[in-house]
Symmetry: C2
Protein backbone atom coordinates (compact mmCIF):
# COMPACT_ATOMS: atom_id res chain seq x y z
CA UNK A 1 0.00 0.00 0.00
CA UNK A 2 1.45 3.34 -1.02
CA UNK A 3 1.31 5.49 2.11
CA UNK A 4 -1.15 8.30 2.68
CA UNK A 5 -1.21 8.71 6.43
CA UNK A 6 -1.63 11.44 8.98
CA UNK A 7 0.14 11.51 12.37
CA UNK A 8 -1.21 13.83 15.05
CA UNK A 9 1.64 15.63 16.83
CA UNK A 10 -0.48 17.96 18.93
CA UNK A 11 -4.22 18.32 19.48
CA UNK A 12 -4.47 21.14 22.03
CA UNK A 13 -5.71 24.64 21.39
CA UNK A 14 -3.87 27.70 22.74
CA UNK A 15 -1.86 26.32 25.69
CA UNK A 16 -0.06 22.98 25.70
CA UNK A 17 -0.37 20.32 28.39
CA UNK A 18 1.61 17.21 29.26
CA UNK A 19 -0.91 15.07 27.38
CA UNK A 20 -1.71 17.41 24.49
CA UNK A 21 0.87 19.28 22.46
CA UNK A 22 0.14 22.40 20.46
CA UNK A 23 -1.15 21.99 16.95
CA UNK A 24 1.04 20.07 14.48
CA UNK A 25 0.41 17.20 12.10
CA UNK A 26 2.63 15.14 9.87
CA UNK A 27 1.25 13.94 6.55
CA UNK A 28 3.01 11.18 4.65
CA UNK A 29 2.02 10.92 1.00
CA UNK A 30 4.10 8.41 -0.94
CA UNK A 31 6.95 8.92 1.57
CA UNK A 32 6.91 12.66 1.00
CA UNK A 33 6.59 14.16 4.50
CA UNK A 34 4.60 17.35 5.02
CA UNK A 35 4.48 19.16 8.34
CA UNK A 36 1.29 21.13 8.90
CA UNK A 37 1.55 23.75 11.64
CA UNK A 38 4.31 23.64 14.21
CA UNK A 39 3.36 24.64 17.76
CA UNK A 40 5.95 24.82 20.53
CA UNK A 41 7.49 21.41 21.19
CA UNK A 42 6.79 19.98 17.74
CA UNK A 43 10.41 18.93 17.25
CA UNK A 44 10.17 16.82 20.39
CA UNK A 45 6.89 15.27 19.27
CA UNK A 46 8.49 14.38 15.93
CA UNK A 47 11.29 12.67 17.86
CA UNK A 48 8.83 10.96 20.21
CA UNK A 49 6.84 9.52 17.31
CA UNK A 50 10.00 8.51 15.44
CA UNK A 51 9.58 10.69 12.38
CA UNK A 52 12.73 11.41 10.38
CA UNK A 53 12.84 15.18 10.53
CA UNK A 54 15.36 15.56 7.73
CA UNK A 55 12.81 13.98 5.37
CA UNK A 56 10.44 16.91 5.85
CA UNK A 57 10.86 19.30 2.92
CA UNK A 58 7.65 21.31 3.12
CA UNK A 59 6.06 23.00 6.13
CA UNK A 60 2.63 24.63 5.97
CA UNK A 61 1.70 27.19 8.62
CA UNK A 62 -2.01 28.01 8.73
CA UNK A 63 -1.70 31.33 10.58
CA UNK A 64 0.43 33.30 12.99
CA UNK A 65 -1.16 32.50 16.30
CA UNK A 66 1.68 31.16 18.41
CA UNK A 67 0.16 27.77 19.11
CA UNK A 68 0.52 27.08 15.38
CA UNK A 69 4.11 28.19 14.79
CA UNK A 70 6.19 28.85 17.94
CA UNK A 71 7.97 25.52 17.43
CA UNK A 72 9.13 26.38 13.92
CA UNK A 73 12.27 28.35 14.80
CA UNK A 74 13.45 25.52 17.04
CA UNK A 75 12.87 22.93 14.34
CA UNK A 76 14.67 25.09 11.75
CA UNK A 77 17.62 25.41 14.16
CA UNK A 78 17.77 21.71 14.93
CA UNK A 79 17.72 20.79 11.23
CA UNK A 80 20.67 23.17 10.80
CA UNK A 81 22.59 21.77 13.79
CA UNK A 82 22.08 18.27 12.42
CA UNK A 83 23.76 19.26 9.16
CA UNK A 84 20.82 19.59 6.77
CA UNK A 85 21.74 20.56 3.22
CA UNK A 86 18.39 20.18 1.39
CA UNK A 87 15.97 22.99 0.70
CA UNK A 88 13.19 23.52 3.23
CA UNK A 89 10.04 25.21 1.96
CA UNK A 90 7.80 27.17 4.31
CA UNK A 91 4.30 28.19 3.23
CA UNK A 92 3.00 30.88 5.53
CA UNK A 93 1.96 34.46 6.09
CA UNK A 94 4.61 36.83 4.74
CA UNK A 95 5.43 38.09 8.23
CA UNK A 96 6.80 34.72 9.31
CA UNK A 97 9.90 35.25 7.21
CA UNK A 98 10.74 38.35 9.27
CA UNK A 99 10.03 36.51 12.53
CA UNK A 100 12.39 33.68 11.61
CA UNK A 101 15.09 35.93 10.20
CA UNK A 102 15.25 38.27 13.20
CA UNK A 103 15.89 35.22 15.40
CA UNK A 104 18.52 33.71 13.11
CA UNK A 105 20.26 37.08 13.01
CA UNK A 106 20.25 37.43 16.81
CA UNK A 107 22.33 34.25 17.07
CA UNK A 108 24.54 35.07 14.05
CA UNK A 109 23.22 31.92 12.39
CA UNK A 110 23.66 31.38 8.67
CA UNK A 111 21.70 28.24 7.89
CA UNK A 112 23.55 25.43 6.14
CA UNK A 113 20.51 24.84 3.91
CA UNK A 114 18.24 27.04 1.78
CA UNK A 115 15.11 28.12 3.63
CA UNK A 116 12.54 29.17 1.06
CA UNK A 117 9.45 31.11 2.05
CA UNK A 118 6.23 31.02 0.04
CA UNK A 119 3.68 33.66 0.89
CA UNK A 120 0.06 32.67 1.48
CA UNK A 121 -2.72 34.80 0.07
CA UNK A 122 -6.21 35.05 1.44
CA UNK A 123 -8.49 36.24 -1.36
CA UNK A 124 -8.80 33.01 -3.31
CA UNK A 125 -7.62 29.39 -3.03
CA UNK A 126 -4.29 28.84 -4.79
CA UNK A 127 -2.06 25.94 -5.73
CA UNK A 128 0.95 25.95 -3.41
CA UNK A 129 2.72 22.86 -4.62
CA UNK A 130 2.42 20.38 -7.44
CA UNK A 131 4.63 17.44 -8.27
CA UNK A 132 4.21 14.11 -10.05
CA UNK A 133 2.29 12.55 -7.23
CA UNK A 134 0.22 15.25 -5.56
CA UNK A 135 -1.05 18.79 -5.31
CA UNK A 136 -1.44 21.09 -2.31
CA UNK A 137 -3.94 23.95 -2.42
CA UNK A 138 -5.03 26.50 0.11
CA UNK A 139 -8.50 26.52 1.64
CA UNK A 140 -9.95 29.89 2.64
CA UNK A 141 -10.91 29.95 6.32
CA UNK A 142 -12.37 32.59 8.60
CA UNK A 143 -10.45 33.52 11.73
CA UNK A 144 -9.32 36.57 13.73
CA UNK A 145 -6.09 36.76 11.71
CA UNK A 146 -5.49 35.74 8.07
CA UNK A 147 -5.68 31.94 7.99
CA UNK A 148 -5.51 29.21 5.36
CA UNK A 149 -6.37 25.56 5.45
CA UNK A 150 -4.59 23.10 3.18
CA UNK A 151 -5.97 20.56 0.75
CA UNK A 152 -3.70 17.66 -0.21
CA UNK A 153 -4.71 15.60 -3.24
CA UNK A 154 -3.02 12.58 -4.61
CA UNK A 155 -2.88 12.63 -8.42
CA UNK A 156 -4.57 10.05 -10.56
CA UNK A 157 -2.14 7.15 -10.62
CA UNK A 158 -1.08 5.23 -13.75
CA UNK A 159 -3.02 2.06 -14.53
CA UNK A 160 -1.54 -1.14 -13.15
CA UNK A 161 -0.30 -3.62 -15.74
CA UNK A 162 -2.09 -6.99 -15.72
CA UNK A 163 1.07 -9.09 -15.77
CA UNK A 164 -0.66 -12.33 -16.63
CA UNK A 165 -2.26 -11.01 -19.82
CA UNK A 166 0.80 -9.04 -20.84
CA UNK A 167 3.00 -12.14 -20.61
CA UNK A 168 0.47 -14.23 -22.47
CA UNK A 169 0.27 -11.76 -25.37
CA UNK A 170 4.02 -11.16 -25.17
CA UNK A 171 3.85 -7.39 -25.25
CA UNK A 172 7.33 -5.86 -25.46
CA UNK A 173 8.57 -3.90 -22.42
CA UNK A 174 8.92 -0.73 -24.51
CA UNK A 175 5.10 -0.51 -24.75
CA UNK A 176 4.50 -0.65 -20.99
CA UNK A 177 4.66 3.11 -20.34
CA UNK A 178 2.02 3.87 -22.97
CA UNK A 179 -0.23 1.11 -21.70
CA UNK A 180 0.07 2.36 -18.10
CA UNK A 181 -1.10 5.73 -19.36
CA UNK A 182 -4.20 4.09 -20.92
CA UNK A 183 -3.17 3.16 -24.50
CA UNK A 184 -4.52 0.10 -26.26
CA UNK A 185 -2.04 -2.34 -27.84
CA UNK A 186 -2.04 -3.36 -31.50
CA UNK A 187 -0.23 -6.64 -32.06
CA UNK A 188 1.86 -7.33 -35.20
CA UNK A 189 -1.04 -9.42 -36.61
CA UNK A 190 -3.31 -6.38 -36.31
CA UNK A 191 -5.26 -7.57 -33.24
CA UNK A 192 -6.32 -4.70 -31.01
CA UNK A 193 -6.14 -5.33 -27.26
CA UNK A 194 -8.13 -2.75 -25.37
CA UNK A 195 -6.45 -1.12 -22.42
CA UNK A 196 -9.04 -2.29 -19.97
CA UNK A 197 -8.07 -5.92 -20.46
CA UNK A 198 -4.34 -5.11 -20.25
CA UNK A 199 -4.53 -3.16 -17.01
CA UNK A 200 -6.22 -2.92 -13.62
CA UNK A 201 -7.77 0.33 -12.50
CA UNK A 202 -5.57 1.91 -9.81
CA UNK A 203 -7.06 2.98 -6.49
CA UNK A 204 -8.89 6.29 -6.63
CA UNK A 205 -6.75 9.34 -5.69
CA UNK A 206 -6.95 10.12 -2.00
CA UNK A 207 -7.34 13.53 -0.39
CA UNK A 208 -6.96 15.25 2.98
CA UNK A 209 -8.25 18.67 4.03
CA UNK A 210 -6.87 20.50 7.05
CA UNK A 211 -9.11 23.23 8.48
CA UNK A 212 -8.00 25.09 11.60
CA UNK A 213 -8.42 27.71 13.01
CA UNK A 214 -11.78 28.78 11.69
CA UNK A 215 -15.30 29.80 12.53
CA UNK A 216 -18.20 28.03 10.85
CA UNK A 217 -17.86 29.31 7.29
CA UNK A 218 -20.03 27.95 4.50
CA UNK A 219 -17.59 28.70 1.63
CA UNK A 220 -15.35 25.95 3.04
CA UNK A 221 -17.85 23.32 1.90
CA UNK A 222 -17.28 23.70 -1.84
CA UNK A 223 -13.52 23.78 -1.36
CA UNK A 224 -13.32 20.43 0.41
CA UNK A 225 -16.16 18.60 -1.32
CA UNK A 226 -15.94 14.82 -0.98
CA UNK A 227 -12.45 14.62 0.46
CA UNK A 228 -11.54 11.29 2.01
CA UNK A 229 -10.32 12.74 5.27
CA UNK A 230 -11.19 16.09 6.83
CA UNK A 231 -9.51 17.50 9.92
CA UNK A 232 -11.70 20.25 11.33
CA UNK A 233 -11.16 22.09 14.58
CA UNK A 234 -13.61 21.70 17.45
CA UNK A 235 -12.31 24.09 20.05
CA UNK A 236 -15.66 24.11 21.84
CA UNK A 237 -18.74 22.02 22.56
CA UNK A 238 -21.99 23.39 21.16
CA UNK A 239 -23.04 24.92 24.50
CA UNK A 240 -20.17 27.38 24.04
CA UNK A 241 -21.28 28.46 20.56
CA UNK A 242 -21.16 32.08 21.58
CA UNK A 243 -17.52 31.79 22.78
CA UNK A 244 -16.76 30.10 19.48
CA UNK A 245 -18.37 32.92 17.55
CA UNK A 246 -16.50 35.60 19.53
CA UNK A 247 -13.15 33.90 19.05
CA UNK A 248 -13.88 32.74 15.50
CA UNK A 249 -13.48 29.10 16.36
CA UNK A 250 -15.72 26.14 15.52
CA UNK A 251 -17.88 23.96 17.72
CA UNK A 252 -18.45 20.23 17.43
CA UNK A 253 -21.69 20.82 15.56
CA UNK A 254 -20.01 23.33 13.22
CA UNK A 255 -17.35 20.80 12.25
CA UNK A 256 -19.80 17.94 11.80
CA UNK A 257 -22.16 20.12 9.76
CA UNK A 258 -19.37 21.11 7.40
CA UNK A 259 -18.34 17.45 7.08
CA UNK A 260 -21.92 16.44 6.32
CA UNK A 261 -22.58 19.17 3.77
CA UNK A 262 -19.23 18.59 2.07
CA UNK A 263 -19.97 14.84 1.92
CA UNK A 264 -16.53 13.93 3.18
CA UNK A 265 -15.78 10.31 4.01
CA UNK A 266 -14.31 10.74 7.48
CA UNK A 267 -13.99 13.58 9.98
CA UNK A 268 -11.20 14.05 12.52
CA UNK A 269 -11.63 16.62 15.25
CA UNK A 270 -9.11 18.36 17.50
CA UNK A 271 -7.73 21.72 18.72
CA UNK A 272 -9.62 21.13 21.94
CA UNK A 273 -9.96 23.81 24.56
CA UNK A 274 -7.92 22.89 27.64
CA UNK A 275 -11.16 22.87 29.67
CA UNK A 276 -12.11 19.49 28.18
CA UNK A 277 -10.32 16.73 30.08
CA UNK A 278 -12.67 14.01 28.84
CA UNK A 279 -13.12 14.29 25.08
CA UNK A 280 -15.90 11.74 24.61
CA UNK A 281 -18.73 14.33 24.88
CA UNK A 282 -17.19 16.23 21.96
CA UNK A 283 -17.11 13.06 19.90
CA UNK A 284 -20.71 12.21 20.79
CA UNK A 285 -21.91 15.64 19.80
CA UNK A 286 -20.22 15.38 16.41
CA UNK A 287 -21.52 11.89 15.77
CA UNK A 288 -25.11 13.04 16.19
CA UNK A 289 -24.58 15.12 13.04
CA UNK A 290 -21.89 13.17 11.22
CA UNK A 291 -21.46 9.55 12.26
CA UNK A 292 -18.01 8.85 10.86
CA UNK A 293 -16.18 11.17 13.24
CA UNK A 294 -13.03 10.37 15.23
CA UNK A 295 -11.15 12.11 18.01
CA UNK A 296 -7.49 12.92 17.44
CA UNK A 297 -4.94 12.51 20.20
CA UNK A 298 -1.18 13.04 20.19
CA UNK A 299 0.68 10.20 18.52
CA UNK A 300 -2.31 8.72 16.70
CA UNK A 301 -1.91 7.76 13.08
CA UNK A 302 -4.74 7.68 10.55
CA UNK A 303 -4.43 5.87 7.23
CA UNK A 304 -6.38 7.26 4.30
Amino acid sequence: MIPFSLTILGCSSATPSIERGQTAQLLNIHEQLFLIDCGEGTQLQLKRFEIKIQHINHIFISHLHGDHYFGLIGLISTLHLHGRKNELHIYANAELENIINIQLKASNTTLLYPLIFHTLQYDKPVMLLENEELTVQTILLKHTVPTCGFLFREKERERNINKEIIQKIKIPFSEFEKIKKGADYIASDGTIYENQILTHTPPAPRSFAYCTDTAYFEPIIEQIKKVDLLYFETTFMQERASDAKDKMHATTVDAATIALKAQVKKLLIGHYSARYKDLSPLLEECKQVFENTFLTEDGQRFEV
Copy 2:
Protein backbone atom coordinates in the same frame (compact mmCIF):
# COMPACT_ATOMS: atom_id res chain seq x y z
CA MET B 1 13.73 26.92 56.67
CA ILE B 2 13.35 29.93 54.39
CA PRO B 3 13.62 28.56 50.84
CA PHE B 4 16.61 28.99 48.59
CA SER B 5 16.31 26.20 46.06
CA LEU B 6 17.07 25.55 42.43
CA THR B 7 14.94 23.36 40.14
CA ILE B 8 16.48 22.13 36.90
CA LEU B 9 13.98 22.42 34.03
CA GLY B 10 16.35 21.47 31.21
CA CYS B 11 19.93 20.28 31.11
CA SER B 12 20.55 19.71 27.39
CA SER B 13 22.72 21.81 25.13
CA ALA B 14 21.58 22.88 21.65
CA THR B 15 18.90 20.30 20.75
CA PRO B 16 16.31 18.94 23.18
CA SER B 17 15.58 15.25 23.74
CA ILE B 18 12.77 13.38 25.44
CA GLU B 19 14.86 13.06 28.62
CA ARG B 20 16.61 16.43 28.55
CA GLY B 21 14.92 19.74 27.91
CA GLN B 22 16.67 22.84 26.69
CA THR B 23 18.27 25.09 29.27
CA ALA B 24 16.01 26.57 31.94
CA GLN B 25 16.19 26.74 35.74
CA LEU B 26 13.82 27.97 38.40
CA LEU B 27 15.28 29.60 41.48
CA ASN B 28 13.13 30.06 44.56
CA ILE B 29 14.50 32.59 47.06
CA HIS B 30 12.10 33.28 49.92
CA GLU B 31 9.17 32.31 47.66
CA GLN B 32 10.25 34.79 45.01
CA LEU B 33 10.49 32.73 41.81
CA PHE B 34 13.14 33.54 39.22
CA LEU B 35 13.30 31.85 35.85
CA ILE B 36 16.78 31.66 34.36
CA ASP B 37 16.83 30.97 30.61
CA CYS B 38 13.83 29.57 28.82
CA GLY B 39 14.52 27.04 26.07
CA GLU B 40 11.71 25.61 23.94
CA GLY B 41 9.29 23.62 26.06
CA THR B 42 10.05 25.42 29.33
CA GLN B 43 6.37 26.16 29.97
CA LEU B 44 5.64 22.44 29.84
CA GLN B 45 8.53 21.64 32.18
CA LEU B 46 7.21 24.23 34.64
CA LYS B 47 3.85 22.47 34.48
CA ARG B 48 5.44 19.03 34.78
CA PHE B 49 7.35 20.03 37.92
CA GLU B 50 4.32 21.81 39.40
CA ILE B 51 5.69 25.32 39.53
CA LYS B 52 3.14 28.12 39.70
CA ILE B 53 3.99 30.10 36.59
CA GLN B 54 2.03 33.19 37.60
CA HIS B 55 4.39 33.54 40.60
CA ILE B 56 7.35 34.15 38.30
CA ASN B 57 7.96 37.89 38.07
CA HIS B 58 11.51 38.00 36.77
CA ILE B 59 13.07 36.12 33.87
CA PHE B 60 16.79 36.26 33.11
CA ILE B 61 17.99 35.30 29.63
CA SER B 62 21.74 34.71 29.41
CA HIS B 63 22.06 35.11 25.63
CA LEU B 64 20.20 34.83 22.36
CA HIS B 65 21.07 31.33 21.25
CA GLY B 66 17.74 29.65 20.70
CA ASP B 67 18.22 26.84 23.19
CA HIS B 68 18.19 29.53 25.90
CA TYR B 69 15.12 31.54 24.88
CA PHE B 70 12.88 29.92 22.22
CA GLY B 71 10.39 28.99 24.95
CA LEU B 72 9.95 32.55 26.18
CA ILE B 73 7.34 33.73 23.65
CA GLY B 74 5.19 30.69 24.44
CA LEU B 75 5.42 31.30 28.17
CA ILE B 76 4.60 35.00 27.74
CA SER B 77 1.54 34.02 25.67
CA THR B 78 0.35 31.43 28.15
CA LEU B 79 0.65 33.86 31.06
CA HIS B 80 -1.51 36.25 29.02
CA LEU B 81 -4.09 33.61 28.13
CA HIS B 82 -4.32 32.66 31.80
CA GLY B 83 -5.23 36.23 32.70
CA ARG B 84 -2.02 37.55 34.22
CA LYS B 85 -2.16 41.14 35.43
CA ASN B 86 1.17 41.55 37.26
CA GLU B 87 4.30 42.99 35.74
CA LEU B 88 6.75 40.55 34.20
CA HIS B 89 10.38 41.67 34.02
CA ILE B 90 12.70 40.29 31.37
CA TYR B 91 16.47 40.82 31.66
CA ALA B 92 18.11 40.11 28.33
CA ASN B 93 19.96 41.34 25.29
CA ALA B 94 18.21 44.41 23.83
CA GLU B 95 17.29 42.53 20.66
CA LEU B 96 14.96 40.18 22.54
CA GLU B 97 12.40 42.94 22.93
CA ASN B 98 12.13 43.20 19.14
CA ILE B 99 11.90 39.44 18.78
CA ILE B 100 9.04 39.23 21.26
CA ASN B 101 7.22 42.27 19.94
CA ILE B 102 7.25 41.21 16.28
CA GLN B 103 5.57 37.95 17.33
CA LEU B 104 2.96 39.63 19.54
CA LYS B 105 2.19 42.00 16.68
CA ALA B 106 1.79 39.15 14.18
CA SER B 107 -1.06 37.76 16.27
CA ASN B 108 -2.55 41.18 17.11
CA THR B 109 -1.89 40.44 20.78
CA THR B 110 -1.95 43.22 23.35
CA LEU B 111 -0.78 41.63 26.57
CA LEU B 112 -3.04 41.95 29.59
CA TYR B 113 0.01 42.62 31.79
CA PRO B 114 3.03 44.95 31.59
CA LEU B 115 6.05 43.25 30.05
CA ILE B 116 9.13 45.19 31.06
CA PHE B 117 12.45 44.67 29.34
CA HIS B 118 15.77 45.40 31.03
CA THR B 119 18.79 45.50 28.76
CA LEU B 120 21.91 43.57 29.69
CA GLN B 121 25.32 45.12 29.19
CA TYR B 122 28.53 43.27 28.64
CA ASP B 123 31.41 45.56 29.65
CA LYS B 124 31.14 45.25 33.42
CA PRO B 125 29.03 43.38 35.97
CA VAL B 126 25.94 45.35 37.00
CA MET B 127 23.18 45.08 39.58
CA LEU B 128 19.99 44.01 37.79
CA LEU B 129 17.66 43.75 40.74
CA GLU B 130 17.69 44.58 44.43
CA ASN B 131 14.92 44.21 46.95
CA GLU B 132 14.70 43.71 50.71
CA GLU B 133 15.75 40.12 50.56
CA LEU B 134 18.20 39.72 47.71
CA THR B 135 20.31 41.11 44.90
CA VAL B 136 20.88 39.88 41.36
CA GLN B 137 24.02 40.87 39.48
CA THR B 138 25.39 39.95 36.08
CA ILE B 139 28.52 37.86 35.63
CA LEU B 140 30.63 38.53 32.55
CA LEU B 141 31.09 35.37 30.47
CA LYS B 142 32.87 34.62 27.21
CA HIS B 143 30.87 33.12 24.37
CA THR B 144 30.27 33.49 20.63
CA VAL B 145 27.50 36.04 21.22
CA PRO B 146 27.16 38.55 24.10
CA THR B 147 26.36 36.48 27.20
CA CYS B 148 25.86 37.13 30.90
CA GLY B 149 25.73 34.85 33.88
CA PHE B 150 23.69 35.79 36.94
CA LEU B 151 24.67 35.98 40.59
CA PHE B 152 21.87 35.74 43.16
CA ARG B 153 22.72 36.78 46.70
CA GLU B 154 20.47 36.66 49.73
CA LYS B 155 20.87 39.77 51.88
CA GLU B 156 22.12 39.65 55.46
CA ARG B 157 19.04 38.76 57.49
CA GLU B 158 17.96 40.49 60.71
CA ARG B 159 19.14 38.93 63.96
CA ASN B 160 16.71 36.48 65.58
CA ILE B 161 15.25 37.54 68.92
CA ASN B 162 16.12 35.24 71.86
CA LYS B 163 12.56 34.98 73.17
CA GLU B 164 13.51 33.48 76.50
CA ILE B 165 15.84 36.35 77.49
CA ILE B 166 13.53 39.02 76.11
CA GLN B 167 10.61 37.72 78.21
CA LYS B 168 12.79 37.43 81.28
CA ILE B 169 14.00 41.04 81.04
CA LYS B 170 10.50 42.18 79.94
CA ILE B 171 11.66 44.23 76.96
CA PRO B 172 8.72 46.11 75.39
CA PHE B 173 7.60 45.06 71.92
CA SER B 174 8.37 48.52 70.53
CA GLU B 175 12.11 47.84 70.98
CA PHE B 176 12.12 44.59 68.98
CA GLU B 177 12.81 46.13 65.57
CA LYS B 178 15.92 47.96 66.82
CA ILE B 179 17.21 44.84 68.59
CA LYS B 180 16.73 42.72 65.46
CA LYS B 181 18.88 45.25 63.63
CA GLY B 182 21.66 44.83 66.23
CA ALA B 183 20.93 47.47 68.93
CA ASP B 184 21.70 46.89 72.60
CA TYR B 185 18.91 47.49 75.18
CA ILE B 186 19.17 49.87 78.11
CA ALA B 187 16.68 49.03 80.82
CA SER B 188 14.95 51.72 82.93
CA ASP B 189 17.40 51.00 85.78
CA GLY B 190 20.31 51.78 83.44
CA THR B 191 21.45 48.18 82.93
CA ILE B 192 22.87 47.63 79.45
CA TYR B 193 21.99 44.33 77.78
CA GLU B 194 24.31 43.71 74.85
CA ASN B 195 22.68 42.65 71.60
CA GLN B 196 24.55 39.36 71.43
CA ILE B 197 22.79 38.06 74.55
CA LEU B 198 19.37 39.29 73.27
CA THR B 199 19.60 37.68 69.84
CA HIS B 200 20.80 34.69 67.89
CA THR B 201 22.96 35.13 64.81
CA PRO B 202 20.88 34.38 61.67
CA PRO B 203 22.15 31.92 59.05
CA ALA B 204 24.77 33.37 56.70
CA PRO B 205 23.37 34.80 53.45
CA ARG B 206 23.27 32.24 50.66
CA SER B 207 24.32 32.68 47.05
CA PHE B 208 23.95 31.04 43.65
CA ALA B 209 25.92 31.73 40.47
CA TYR B 210 24.69 30.68 37.03
CA CYS B 211 27.34 30.45 34.32
CA THR B 212 26.33 29.25 30.84
CA ASP B 213 27.24 29.44 27.98
CA THR B 214 30.90 30.23 28.35
CA ALA B 215 34.43 29.21 27.52
CA TYR B 216 36.97 28.83 30.31
CA PHE B 217 37.44 32.46 31.33
CA GLU B 218 39.54 33.38 34.35
CA PRO B 219 37.78 36.70 35.13
CA ILE B 220 34.73 34.66 36.18
CA ILE B 221 36.60 33.48 39.28
CA GLU B 222 36.67 36.82 41.11
CA GLN B 223 33.00 37.46 40.26
CA ILE B 224 31.71 34.26 41.85
CA LYS B 225 34.20 33.94 44.73
CA LYS B 226 32.97 31.65 47.51
CA VAL B 227 29.38 31.29 46.36
CA ASP B 228 27.44 28.47 47.98
CA LEU B 229 26.22 26.97 44.73
CA LEU B 230 27.69 27.32 41.26
CA TYR B 231 26.04 26.06 38.09
CA PHE B 232 28.65 25.90 35.36
CA GLU B 233 28.19 24.44 31.92
CA THR B 234 30.07 21.30 30.86
CA THR B 235 29.09 20.86 27.25
CA PHE B 236 32.07 18.59 26.62
CA MET B 237 34.39 16.09 28.29
CA GLN B 238 38.04 17.09 28.43
CA GLU B 239 39.01 14.99 25.39
CA ARG B 240 36.96 17.45 23.33
CA ALA B 241 38.75 20.52 24.67
CA SER B 242 39.45 21.72 21.15
CA ASP B 243 35.73 21.54 20.20
CA ALA B 244 35.00 23.44 23.39
CA LYS B 245 37.51 26.12 22.50
CA ASP B 246 36.16 26.48 18.93
CA LYS B 247 32.58 26.79 20.13
CA MET B 248 33.43 28.81 23.23
CA HIS B 249 31.98 26.23 25.59
CA ALA B 250 33.48 24.72 28.73
CA THR B 251 34.70 21.22 29.46
CA THR B 252 34.31 19.26 32.69
CA VAL B 253 37.82 20.24 33.76
CA ASP B 254 37.18 23.91 32.92
CA ALA B 255 34.09 23.98 35.15
CA ALA B 256 35.76 22.15 38.01
CA THR B 257 38.86 24.36 37.80
CA ILE B 258 36.75 27.51 38.01
CA ALA B 259 34.86 26.02 40.99
CA LEU B 260 38.14 25.15 42.71
CA LYS B 261 39.80 28.50 42.12
CA ALA B 262 36.68 30.41 43.14
CA GLN B 263 36.45 28.30 46.32
CA VAL B 264 32.74 27.67 45.84
CA LYS B 265 30.98 25.24 48.15
CA LYS B 266 29.23 23.09 45.57
CA LEU B 267 29.32 22.74 41.78
CA LEU B 268 26.44 21.67 39.56
CA ILE B 269 27.15 20.79 35.94
CA GLY B 270 24.89 20.60 32.89
CA HIS B 271 24.26 21.82 29.31
CA TYR B 272 25.49 18.44 28.14
CA SER B 273 26.17 17.73 24.50
CA ALA B 274 23.56 15.29 23.13
CA ARG B 275 26.38 12.81 22.38
CA TYR B 276 26.63 11.91 26.09
CA LYS B 277 23.96 9.35 26.94
CA ASP B 278 25.66 8.25 30.17
CA LEU B 279 26.67 11.28 32.22
CA SER B 280 28.74 9.56 34.89
CA PRO B 281 32.07 10.03 33.03
CA LEU B 282 31.48 13.80 33.04
CA LEU B 283 30.86 13.73 36.78
CA GLU B 284 33.96 11.62 37.42
CA GLU B 285 36.13 13.98 35.41
CA CYS B 286 34.90 16.98 37.40
CA LYS B 287 35.33 15.23 40.73
CA GLN B 288 39.01 14.62 40.04
CA VAL B 289 39.46 18.39 40.15
CA PHE B 290 36.61 19.47 42.44
CA GLU B 291 35.13 16.77 44.65
CA ASN B 292 31.83 18.42 45.58
CA THR B 293 30.35 18.25 42.06
CA PHE B 294 26.87 17.04 41.12
CA LEU B 295 25.15 16.27 37.84
CA THR B 296 21.93 18.11 37.05
CA GLU B 297 19.02 16.34 35.40
CA ASP B 298 15.56 17.61 34.48
CA GLY B 299 13.27 17.87 37.48
CA GLN B 300 15.99 17.75 40.14
CA ARG B 301 15.86 20.22 42.99
CA PHE B 302 18.87 21.45 44.92
CA GLU B 303 18.54 23.20 48.27
CA VAL B 304 21.16 25.80 49.15
